[in-house]
Amino acid sequence: MVGGMNHVIEAIGLSQVFRQRQGLFASARQVMAVDDLSFRVAEGSALGIVGESGCGKSTLARMLLGLLPASAGTLRIGGADLRGMDRRARARLIQPVFQDPMSSLNPRRRIGATIALPLRVQGTGRAECRRAVARMLEEVGLAPEIAARFPNQLSGGQRQRVAIARALIVNPRILICDEPTSALDVSVQAQILNLLMDLRARFKLTLVFISHNLAVVEHIADEVAVMYLGRFVEHSANAEIFAAPRHPYTRALLASVLTPEPGLGLPEMPLGEGSPDPTNIPPGCRFHPRCPLATELCRNQAPPRGAVECHFAASGAGA
């Protein structure tokens, strides 16, 4: 994170609180999905966000896209505050690719019209749109005749290519990918990852890549943020985090990646039982109920803020 670099995403104290009622007469509970996050993403870089279900990573994606106004904090995209930004201006800056292209593509609209829609919204004429669609289809490796088809006539990988073409047609600066390959077969996942890396270079994109799959994130990201119950518990350069993970949760996540190496057997998982519950964030360090290193200090006091949010980050205990 070199100073003077142009940061296209700047989050300062970003929070998202949902209110959830368990029953008709029960009082509402607060769900802290994203908790006072501050981070920056340099232009042209790729930030990978990993975490398990319920950690807030998809909520954060929706906030970055401007689909969900923040409960607190500021989010600057391309130097301008996202709050109050015109929808069309926002769409030119930042575009999404979601997990399941079947539910993010309109089943009754032809592929050509789907890809063209972001341009039409910007007021581009039909002839220009047709040319742009043909160009984008080629960019994502699809045949021109696909434009006349409907989503159900395509395979999962082809649909994801369509979603990518639709996102890139307005030439955005930032692409937010939320589990873009999780629904795909492995051989197709590799095609889509290769395509994303090619397009990232060609379109000079800034990527935010959200996934539960650490191996995929390691492959594509320059920086990695490990998210747990609404906070980045560790955030550093890709090489650092994978070579020397410092947070016990990062270490557990890394240990649980089952690489295709026979003979290694299954990893020991020193994590306690019980899944993280965003409606009931533990006091002190939010990871302490599952942490093998937890002490009295961890149960009572939140760890200092920083790149590694652990009381023992500096001493490297248990590493």
Partner: protein
């Protein structure tokens, strides 16, 4: 012979379509056999056919289908119903769809014992609690009174495996049991499965698309493509020296931290996973294969190597045209 399940020339079709085109498979006691492949390759219907849970319209035939040495291909529905949930059990990817949301965990578990063992209610409750405890469910007595939606995904998966193991089956078929779980929970669950397998001498047929899971838990692996097993062998041998171009392609397409440099290109298999068809002539993989030749349209020969390692390809073990 320690084979719990023996399958020879299993074929499954739907109307004119052939989903499974003659597979052979053996699962031995205490062993985990992984059936791996991408969507639509026929791995799940193959598993369902062992339990005879195929839809009525499916065509099904096998030269041999033996369970614990007895032929079950000709067994009627009543005979199969006695085996299912007793000597052979199955767990699925999403426990929410196989647990009935309207009944408590207890009533669903107890039913298994009352039906197969004729156990008294009190005895059944005790056994359920013991089994839940064994699979690491905390507060097991309380869980019996809970409904599936009140449990986390990891807990539901444990309840499902506890239910499957109640009658101490000889064979457990697990269809993508960890695909819906978080990675840390997946690792915990697979360890649990391995522990139980060791204690009970269980034969496990594990269906998955995840080569990482295969590498870490399988004794033997069968790679399936378009309704056929294209390569089979001991896991170590197949991963160390994959012979079929599809197996090689699959292994090259997964990112492995520390192995493939970040940003480097992943090996990928061009084209798309084929839908089940009305019969493939010759090698079904040839449209996506980097080393395909015109001759691949001819029927595919099978090559046998040491220790049961076999693969079906026109290129022989030495990589040369086998001239079949």
């Amino acid at each position: 012979m320690n084979a719990v399940l023996e399958i020879e020339d299993l074929r499954i079709g739907f109307g004119p379509l052939e989903a499974v085109r003659g597979i052979d498979l053996v699962v031995e006691r205490g062993q985990t056999h992984c059936l791996v492949g991408e969507s639509g390759c026929g791995k799940s219907v193959s598993a369902l056919s062992v339990l005879r849970l195929l839809p009525k319209r499916a065509r099904f035939s096998a030269a041999r289908l033996a369970f614990e040495g007895n032929d079950i291909a000709g067994l009627g529905e009543r005979g199969m119903a006695r085996l299912r949930g007793d000597r052979m059990a199955m767990i699925f990817q999403e426990p929410m769809t196989s647990l009935n949301p309207a009944y408590t965990i207890g009533s669903q578990m107890i039913e298994v014992l009352r039906r197969h063992r004729g156990a008294s209610r009190a005895a059944a409750v005790d056994r359920c609690i013991a089994m839940l405890e064994r699979v690491g469910v905390t507060a097991p007595a309380m869980r019996l009174g809970q409904f599936p939606h009140q449990l986390s995904g990891g807990l539901r998966q444990r309840v499902m495996i506890a239910t499957a193991l109640l009658c101490e089956p000889a064979l457990l078929i697990a269809d993508e049991p960890t695909t819906a779980l978080d990675v840390t929970v997946q690792a915990q669950f697979l360890r649990l499965l391995a522990d139980i397998q060791r204690q009970m001498g269980l034969a496990v047929l594990l269906i998955t698309h995840d080569l990482g899971v295969v590498a870490r838990v399988a004794d033997r692996v069968s790679v399936m493509y378009a309704g056929r097993i294209v390569e089979h062998g001991a896991t170590g041998a197949v991963f160390a020296a994959p012979r079929h171009p599809y197996t090689r392609g699959l292994l090259a397409s997964i990112p492995v931290p520390g192995k493939i440099p970040p940003g480097g290109r992943l090996g990928s298999i061009p084209g798309i996973v084929p839908r089940i068809g009305a019969g493939f002539a010759g090698c079904a993989f040839r449209a996506r294969c980097a080393v395909a030749m015109p001759a691949c349209a001819a029927p595919v020969p099978e090559h046998r190597l040491a220790d049961g390692h076999r693969f079906a390809c026109h290129l022989g073990p030495d990589g040369a045209w086998s001239g079949a």
